[in-house]
């Protein structure tokens, strides 16, 4: 396990959860606001299960501040690893933007059931992602 890419992004423990915030109005937001914007906002652990709201693929190496494969010293586009990204609707809470892992582009569809996970990002950091529930269950078996 690497370091968390942001120490406050998800909770620790065997069943980590993304950290959102609950506004005084009851609305759930993600990520948990910081600084003055956090006043009156209660930290709120988000659901580990959700459904796919939209998705896309990232087919080219992002410029800085990207720190994934291909961005390091002496690296370039040939070192880039394309990835999937999407919005995941956490029922009754909020729709969060996330990497989608353990899935192929052609398998993705609206409403697909997904589960939260923590994945290696680069040599130093882990980041968060969602993966198909079916993939999560087959890995557990």
């Amino acid at each position: 396990m690497g370091e968390k890419i942001d120490p406050n992004l998800w909770s620790d423990g065997p069943q980590p959860q993304l950290m959102g915030g609950k506004l005084p109005s009851g609305q759930i937001v993600f990520p948990m606001p910081v600084g003055d914007a956090a006043q009156g906002v209660e930290p709120h652990k988000l659901s580990r299960r959700g459904t796919l709201w939209s998705w896309t693929s990232q087919g080219f190496l992002p410029k800085e501040p990207y720190e994934g494969p291909g961005s390091g010293p002496g690296e370039g586009p040939p070192d880039f690893q394309p990835f999937l990204i999407g919005y995941v609707e956490l029922p009754g809470e909020v729709i969060v933007e996330s990497r989608i892992v353990d899935a192929r582009l052609e398998d993705l569809h609206l409403g697909m059931e997904l589960e939260f996970c923590v994945v290696p990002f680069n040599a130093r950091y882990d980041t968060f992602a969602f993966r198909p529930v079916a993939a999560a269950e087959s890995q557990a078996a």
């Binding site: 609305q27 990520p31 709201w53 998705w55 800085e64 501040p65 729709i95 980041t127």
Partner: protein, 388 residues
Amino acid sequence: MSENVYIIGAGIHPFGRTDGRSGREQGVYAVREALGDAGLEWPDIECAYGGSAAAGNADIMVNELGLTSLPFTNVANGCATGGSALAASQQAIASGMYDLALAVGFDKHPRGAFNAKPADYGLPEWYGQTGMMLTTQFFALKIQRYMQLHGISRTTLGRVAEKAFRNGTITPHAWRRSPVDLDTIMNAPMINDPLTKYMFCSPAEGAVALILASEKKMRELGADGVKIRAVSVKTRPPNSFEVFQASISIEEGGKPTVLASKAAFEKAGIGPEDISVAQLQDTESGAEIMHMAENGFCKDGEQEEWLANGWTEIGGGKLPVNTDGGCLACGEPIGASGLRQVYENVTQLRGRAGERQVPEKNGRKVRFGYSHVYGAPGLSGVAILERE
């Protein structure tokens, strides 16, 4: 009651790549073109508004144009820089304070996708570090869901790009002047699914200047003016879905484009069916499709039929859209892009668009031109022009 405002001069520096000429120099070029078009000299201009996103402050242009002591306000409003400059100069004249104003936008971006900084948009660093700080992803995520919900095909995305490049071939100020066929567009490398390389516009260079006048001044000069019927700039309402958002509300919110469009139509006292030609923000193919509906020109999903039938082509029967090839063929110099749309409508309404001129329809002259720009962090600008 405010004064009527007219655009009496329009100038453009060709879009694309111009090595050896800075963004601001392109701006100065466009201002001189606009002055020439209006039959004016620089000292005639009473106030100015302008800006760029990546090519420096606009007010420094007085070094080249002349130190006439006019008030020159720099505008820095992202993709809406041009729209905001137009709105400010329109207000300056409508208020009765000035008779002649300049709106100018220019830019010069490095090659490749824009790289925005998370902190500039109130986002945590991890958002950029992990590769989410990309405008192209937002466009793909928005059209992907839209296609699923409203039955838009990938071919329709391709047709939008094909039309843009076709219109670019007959537009002197366009960057991409060669046609690209549908197969090439569809089979090009995928950038962000479902959008291929040819379905995205690229950051570029270019400049546009417009000279605005009061009705009294226009008549005094005997200038060829196009009336500004309405200008509306709106920022996002609660719970909307915009570029650079780590999360979206589960309550579906409004859209800044819908708000700006409705406000502009209301001010103008006309409806979408009255528009003869439209320039809609097309940073990529999907944006043009969604913006057709968000601006009220068709219902969600009808774009499939519109594009299949060529109804948005020049002379296509319903509503010519992006007659100069839009952002797809012209590229996107952020500060100039919104004003390019207005420039194109001025050119069309004056009947000076040459090969790409929109024809009269059923004996009805080309009377109303509509332009729409959208940008981060969720704002839209709409302008409706009228040929009286």
